[in-house]
Amino acid sequence: MSIDSMTPDLVKKHFKVIGNRVRRPDGVDKVTGRARYGADYNLPGQLVALVLRSPHAHALIEKIDTSKAEKLAGVKAVITSKDLPDHTQGDRGLLDILENCMARKKALYDGHAVAAVAAIDAATARKALKLINVTYKILPHVTDVDEALKHGAPVIHDHVYTEGLSEKPTRPSNHCKYAEYGHGDVEAGFRDADVVISRSFKTEQTHQGYIEPHSVTASVSPDGTAEMFVCTQGHFVYRNQCAALLGLDANKLRVTASEIGGGFGGKTHIWAEPLALALSRKANRPVKLTMTRDEVFRATGPTSSTSVDVKIGAKKDGTITAAFAELRYHGGCFPGNWAELGAMTSFACYDLKNVKSVAKDAIVNRPKTAAYRAPSAPMAAFAVESVVDEVAKAIGMDPLDFRIKNAAKEGTKSSYGPVYGPIGIGPTLQAAKNHPHMKAPLGKNMGRGVACGFWFNFGGQTCVDVNIAADGTVTVAQGTIDVGGSRASIAMAVAEELGISYENVRSIVADTSSLGHNDMTDGSRGTFSSSMAAIFASRNAVKVLRERAAKMWEISIGEVEWKDGAAHAVGAHHGNRSPLSLKEIAAQAGTTGGPVAGHAEITADGAGVSFGTHIADVEVDLETGRSTVKRYTVIQDAGKALHPSYVEGQYQGGAAQGIGWALNEEYVYGKDGRLQNAGFLDYRIPVCSDLPMIDTQILEIANPHHPYGVRGVGETPIVPPLATLGIAVTNATGVRQTHIPMSPPRVLLSLMSKMK
């Protein structure tokens, strides 16, 4: 079914279940310790796997001698890249994924896997790792994005040539991709401006920082079947990629997703899963591989560090005449990052006549980057919103009014190309202007920041089964991972459609052998697309229920309506029939045609773009450079909040991650190219006492492409915080902040430079 078949009469506006704050189905399991996460699965006879990782940022692997490790009693398998032959048939992107899981000829970053062992226990596996002898030839490395793009930088891959230039370069380089967006004539626009401001910004690399380390339990049988229990944002995608890399048939690899202890994009990529499968295949026993926190930081999922130049010109009346940005991002050690998304999102909030954004992607000797909640957008928003703030002040206009004046609206040609339909940037800015937070007095050494942000959102492939049991209770099986409470929302949608109570609907996440393909929970698609599929599946089930009622009444289906969880016979001569409840129809299912179910397989395009505006008050200790967030407000359009608590939760969680990024989180690399803070002690994510309550305001501007008007909400909340806090700290200190995170040493340095 396509959502384009959705006519206006299918759109629902009045709800009984939707919008309530029901209890989540996985709640009791999660508060009692029963819920099973990745590392909580065990299989009979399972071995413990550990991974040997490169201590070097860039090195040729000349030789790996595993013979001593193999001879150690209790060691059942040792693998290197030789045990992972290339099945990718020329698909370089897939080969990069494999090479990231296990180094082939070169170690490309500190933490890159070079070998792995499976042994009867952890102590034996640890001993075995020490017995593996790797001969490295250390190569020059580069970890900084601007350095990597310079001529003369060590070239990391000799097969990578800059893509997106009109002429193919003659030499390989670390500059893997070029792209530009925009329209109009920016040079002319700058000439028309009364004020032009240019600035350069940097942001450091951050990690998604999910609390649950990656863990996989894999079992490969000699008959070619395999099963895998794993924490992932997308078990179908994990299955497809692992099967392709291991040379298995996808249907024979059954993947069960565990409860997931946070992902935020970091569990959209496979990291150690192929290693666990290869070890299991070699040892012929189940293998459990759980990463340590150190491994999570060194070898999985950080986002990009960036270097961004922004130039904006405006007239004194507050009209932006031109805007330009060059955004340089790195993707870690492989191509495939998204500076482009920074370029696309950078000016997306504004209605601009002349705009250009240029994206350059670099390759560096750091772990392969992964998506992190609205990938690439927060850094671009930081740079652009900071300059927007500065330009507004330069022409003597309130920055929020300046934004409102220049905000994109329906009919605006977006900076990334297409013309906008109905969008919510104006309403979120207006809501910010009217919010009591904006009028609250500020204390000493405090500054207030306001910034807005944009994200695309998407839908993708989704399927859902709604099965009605003989007693009239309902199970809904979804295949999109529940990361933040979507099982509750999906069950609510089913209850709403069937007209029964939420308590009579149980939702589960089905394994890859029990349901058709589902895309990952990313792109803010989980609730958007699964609820859509669940609604359509329920409507299909209702059709079956009406048919069954018609049979029971011996009338035609056209004479049966579904209302309030029951079939009603309609028409003049059926007035005396009492309704048949879902329960009554289910009880007769065996005699009316068999089990009652509804299914939907959809591609949920049309998620709709999303905007948010944040307000923050920050107090800065001017003698130490330390910033404290005193008040924080998130305003965002949700389309329709199915379960308001979980929408608020997305707003609050995204904001908190953004606050951490803005103030303290960063990867610190030494001159030797080694990561120096691979742990929660020195990679400083916000703790409870660092944050205030995070106020939220949910706007509901219905998405015309969803039957309930839902928009994705998960990612946009991380887009504005860097800019919001950057502006707040600027206002508190009187010094424009241009480097994220604004750690105390950086802020103090900026203050001391100002004094001089």
């Binding site: 103030l663 006492s689 105390p744 040493p745 001391m752």
Partner: protein, 286 residues
């Protein structure tokens, strides 16, 4: 690895002394277990001292307080006498790690781990605390500042371990305070820290002062010049400026993942001034 839980200090010292491999003392274990997990240390013997009689007790004595080496830091703030007498020391110990870590970690362990950033150490130094060291043959006492020898090294000999920390009797009109700088509000290691202990005369003039800095050199530093800068003053602005300057001048820090040389040097002075203000107020100065 072997695990032993002796019931006397003598027995513990003998075990540590006799061990041919690598022997470690386990009190709270909040540093030792982290190092074991990271593979930084691989003990052959771990001697758990928590079963030694009296080692988990806080005793008020005629000459001050004796705090057993295995007293978890969380227990310090539960001792009202101690909090009233040495608030700076208790606050410093209370800053080590989370509530979870507080339930286990000890001041003696904090000292013996010999990190230059240990929170309790500058406060203990400012307070003039001593440690009781038990060895296989005899016991001895050392000033706290004489325990660390460098990063991760102490002046304790093989077989020796700390059984107690002794805090002196509090002088009349005296007060102590400890401040550290961390980027977050909790869970961080001090980037720079300062302990101050002051005694005033009846007019509010400082007669004695001890100022110690943490995380600005290979070990915590006693800064005599800082003390001299404020002795004889009522902690007026000029004295505070001199104090800050003396502290900044004493710093020999490094650039690392937690802070820069410039930052540590500057903030050492700021913290010293603020800690001195608190100590001065606690001593009854106005």
């Amino acid at each position: 690895m072997r695990y032993m839980q002796p019931s006397t200090a003598k027995e513990a010292a003998t075990l540590l002394n006799k061990e041919k491999g690598k022997a470690f003392v386990l009190a709270g274990g909040t540093d030792l277990l982290v190092k074991m997990k990271a593979g930084m240390v691989e003990p052959d013997l771990v001697v758990d001292i928590k079963a030694i009689k009296g080692i988990k007790e806080i005793k008020k004595t005629a000459s001050g307080f004796t705090i057993g080496a295995a007293v978890p830091c969380a227990a310090l703030s539960e001792n009202k006498d101690l909090v009233k007498t040495w608030p700076g020391v208790v606050e410093a110990a209370g800053l080590i790690g989370s509530k979870q870590v507080q339930g286990r970690c000890t001041m003696a362990g904090n000292l013996c781990n010999a990190s230059p950033a240990a929170d309790s150490v500058p406060a203990l130094m400012a307070a003039g605390a001593k440690v009781v060291v038990t060895g296989p043959k005899a016991s001895r006492k050392l000033a706290v500042e004489d325990v660390p020898a460098g990063v991760g090294r102490t002046h304790l000999k093989k077989g020796e371990f700390i059984t107690a920390i002794e805090l002196p009797k509090k002088a009349a009109r005296s007060g102590d305070a400890y401040l550290r700088f961390i980027p977050r509000t909790e869970m961080d290691i001090a980037v720079v820290s300062c302990g101050v202990n002051l005694t005033l005369d009846t007019k509010g003039v400082i007669t004695h002062a001890r100022v110690a800095l943490g995380a600005v050199a290979v070990t915590a530093l006693m800064v005599k010049e800082a003390a001299i800068a404020i002795i004889g003053t009522k902690l007026d602005d000029a004295a505070k400026a001199k104090l800050a300057a003396a502290c900044s001048a004493a710093c020999k820090p490094i650039d690392d993942k937690r802070g820069t040389v410039a930052f540590r040097t500057e903030v050492a002075g700021v913290l010293a001034r603020r800690a001195a203000e608190t100590a001065y107020a606690r001593a009854g100065g106005k």
